[in-house]
């Protein structure tokens, strides 16, 4: 019996369709694969009970800790770096060009996101999609409706492929160029994506563009730290509770 429900221990044959809509016994939707011949315990294994995180005294605190925990490292950098954050400090992506900045989220750079060709409503779209949506197609790239064969003045390379039209908005496509995605010229698209992620994580205030903000009141209320100043370049200055700094240093 290769599959076992981790909730109630119910077992299922390999390829069983029952599992597809969840365990019929308990409704669970996590199953462990048990190869033939392996020991199958009657009861599902307890989840690994390593050092459990200390339960917070107060559920509110716990949710706060969870939400903002990722920002702590970066916040500590700000706080331990001096009383006042250095406005000229490097951006996280500049400091961590090798990656690994996806977990930190106290900084949003609305300007850079805009420059990167993403817009605030783009969500998970990548730059190419946004470009395709907002860019204008050059008239010569739009197939003539009277000419289904696409024999215009300048024959389109791929018979009016919409991605080609998008490409054309950034400049005339080189003949035979098979690149269909136009990338933001001034920035690595990964960084734009990364900023989008940071924005999603630090969602108490979303800077749509300078002067336009969307506020998540529950998040603002729920946080122990609070935003003192939004700076010109889209950065925040936030005040964090003292215990964060102490606790984090102890962890090291």
């Amino acid at each position: 019996m290769p599959h076992q429900c981790t909730g109630c221990g119910e077992r299922f044959a390999d390829g069983s369709k029952e599992m597809l809509s969840g365990c019929p016994e308990c409704g669970g939707n996590k199953f462990q694969f048990r190869p033939q011949g392996a020991d199958v315990p009657e009861e599902p294994e307890e989840p690994k009970s390593g050092p459990q995180p200390e339960p917070a005294d107060d559920p509110q605190e716990s949710s706060v800790a969870e939400t903002v925990g990722r920002a702590t490292t970066r916040v500590r950098d700000f706080v331990s770096g001096g009383d006042e954050p250095d406005p000229n400090a490097a951006w996280p992506d500049e400091r961590d060009a090798t990656g690994d900045v996806g977990d930190d989220g106290e900084i949003i750079d609305a300007d850079a996101r805009r420059e990167a060709g993403t817009d605030a409503d783009a969500g998970a779209e990548d730059a190419a999609q946004v470009n395709a949506r907002s860019g204008l197609a050059a008239p010569e790239d739009v197939p003539d409706p009277d000419d289904p064969a696409g024999a215009g003045d300048e024959p389109p390379a791929a018979g009016g492929d919409p991605t080609d039209s998008a490409d054309a908005s950034d400049g005339p496509p080189a003949a035979g160029d098979d690149r269909v995605v136009s990338e933001p010229s001034d920035e690595d698209p990964d960084l734009a994506e990364l900023r989008e992620q940071l924005n999603d994580q630090f969602e108490s205030i979303k800077i749509v563009e300078p002067g336009q903000y969307e506020l998540n009141l529950m998040e603002l209320y729920d946080r122990e730290e609070y935003i003192i100043a939004l700076q010109e370049n889209g950065r925040y200055v936030i005040q964090v509770p003292d215990q964060w700094i102490g606790a984090d240093v102890d962890d090291r």
Binding site: Q212, Y213, L215, L217, Y221, Y226
Partner: protein, 213 residues
């Protein structure tokens, strides 16, 4: 008049024992932008201390930093109640500098105001979490009270078990509907008033003394 009589008769439902001790209670004046929070704060401060709290304006988000007037002593029925009045920026989920452009404010200034207003909302929400002992929730009674912001804020205040009074402001305007406000929050007492004209302030102070004394 029936409504007023009803409200007056409900004075007996006092909850004055909520707070013991003599420390002034910090009473936060919360509500959406342009509800008349600063006008009310100024009215209270002027009536009892002679000072004002801050400038009033028709431009939304005129108040972009919480302002406090301390030790406002309100004397009611032989008793005296001391409160710190905290006037907060209007709470909203969206701030857009374009809103200010309609009020003949230059773009640069509008963007700055917008940023400050956003900081102000963050500050107001933080104060609500940590620094207030009671809330006066001010609504413009000519506006629809059923908004996401109102529901959310009143919900937060309730979850904190903070004593709260709903003030239906601007009753001097023809379109005002106190009933609509009290229907929106039937679980709380609604006090009609015009902070600008000083209408019904006697009852306002009675209720403040009753709820926050």
């Amino acid at each position: 008049m029936g409504l007023l009589t009803d409200l007056r008769s409900s004075i007996s439902r006092a909850t004055s024992s909520l707070f013991a001790g003599t420390e002034p209670k910090r009473i936060g004046i919360y509500g959406p932008p342009n509800a008349g929070k600063t006008t009310l704060a100024n009215r209270i401060a002027r009536d009892w201390t002679g000072d004002a709290v801050g400038p009033e304006s028709h431009v939304p988000h005129e108040t972009r930093r919480a302002r406090r007037k301390e030790n406002v002593e309100i004397k009611r029925n032989g008793k005296s109640v001391t409160i710190d009045v905290v006037d907060t920026p209007g709470v909203t989920t969206k701030v857009d500098y374009k809103e200010f452009l309609e009020h003949d404010i230059e773009e640069d200034d509008a963007v700055r105001r917008s940023r400050e207003a956003t900081e102000g909302v963050a500050e107001a929400m933080h104060w609500l979490r940590e620094d207030v002992d009671g809330v006066i929730y001010v609504l413009d009674s000519t506006e629809d009270p059923f908004t996401q912001v109102n529901t959310m804020l009143v919900g937060i205040i309730e979850s904190q078990d903070l004593p709260v009074l709903i003030f239906a402001n601007k009753i001097d305007l023809e379109e005002a509907s106190v009933q609509r406000v009290s229907n929106a929050f039937p679980q709380h007492e609604t006090v009609p008033l015009s902070a600008l004209e000083g209408d019904n302030m006697d009852e306002v102070y009675d209720k403040i003394a009753e709820h926050f004394g």
